[in-house]
């Protein structure tokens, strides 16, 4: 398990993204670059949503926003499947992704974040808090060559 906690400001997103990118390597996906690209893209949007929406009222009041805590697990689901789970916790306004299901239109300027998260991750769960917990899950199946390799 990997945990980190950063202030809920957009300036800290890059630090969190680098940790997420590093954690993706533990999954040993066949196409590691694509796996990391999709996870990092989805996580970035989730982080944005917390900062821009979840902590907006707190920030507007002049109070420093709370932290964003990230808990990362990786595990083998079976012989051929690995799974990465990222739980993102915040103490801001509830932002339930289930309320936003519309895909972007042909020339989107807004509303793309959740579409990106849903498209790139295999599971998306939300538990209203405090703390609110958004859980992102992505799996990958490993190729035959990797499966048969010695441990």
């Amino acid at each position: 398990m990997i945990t980190l906690s950063v202030p809920g400001s957009i300036e800290y997103r890059d630090i969190a993204v680098r940790v997420i990118g590093g954690a993706c390597k533990f999954v040993e996906a066949d196409d590691a670059e694509q796996f990391a690209t999709e996870v990092v893209s989805a996580f970035s949007e989730a982080f944005n949503n917390i900062v821009l929406h979840g902590y907006r009222d707190i920030r507007a009041s002049g109070t420093p926003p709370g932290n964003i805590e990230v808990v990362i697990h990786h595990r083998a689901v079976d012989d051929a499947t690995r799974e990465l789970t990222i739980a993102i916790k915040d103490h801001g306004r509830v932002f339930d992704p289930a309320q936003y299901v519309e895909p972007p239109d042909e020339m989107p300027e807004r509303g793309m974040g959740l579409f990106i998260i849903r498209s790139f991750m295999d599971e998306l769960r939300y538990q209203a808090g405090p703390p609110n917990v958004l859980t992102l899950v992505k799996r990958c199946r490993q190729g035959e060559r990797k499966k048969s390799a010695p441990p």
Binding site: I10, E11, R13, D14, V17, E33, Q34, T37, E38, V40, S41, S44, E45, N48, V51, L52, P104, E106, M107, P108, E109, R110, M112, G113, F115, I116, S119, F120
Partner: protein, 103 residues
């Protein structure tokens, strides 16, 4: 995020590098606004050195496209690759940006 703008006659080349996201898109917005203010009609946005883009960055580029088309101009993107290409393909932006590879 860094950017350079080069004008050659009616053509404008805007190179954006680094990261175009919720943090840096607001920094770029005055540059894009200036292109619209000057009614630049043929704009190419070179993203070959862009490392990462998020929905805020995409929104800034789409906003530019809509405004430029509003006065009869066109915005092309060039050199998109890696993570930005994955995002552009997912959002099917090849349908709106000339020069972008199809999904």
């Amino acid at each position: 995020m860094g950017h350079t703008r080069t004008d050659s006659g009616d053509e404008t080349l805007l190179k954006i590098d680094g990261t175009l996201d919720a943090l840096t898109a607001p920094e770029l917005r005055p540059v894009l606004d200036q292109l619209v203010t000057e009614s630049r009609k043929s704009i190419t946005v070179d993203l070959s050195h862009l490392r990462l883009i998020d929905s805020s960055g995409v929104g800034a580029l789409v906003s530019l496209l809509k405004r430029v088309r509003g006065y009869g101009g066109e915005v092309r993107v060039a050199g998109v690759r890696d993570q930005p290409l994955a995002i552009f393909k997912l959002l099917q932006l090849h349908r709106v940006f000339p020069g972008l590879p199809g999904a």
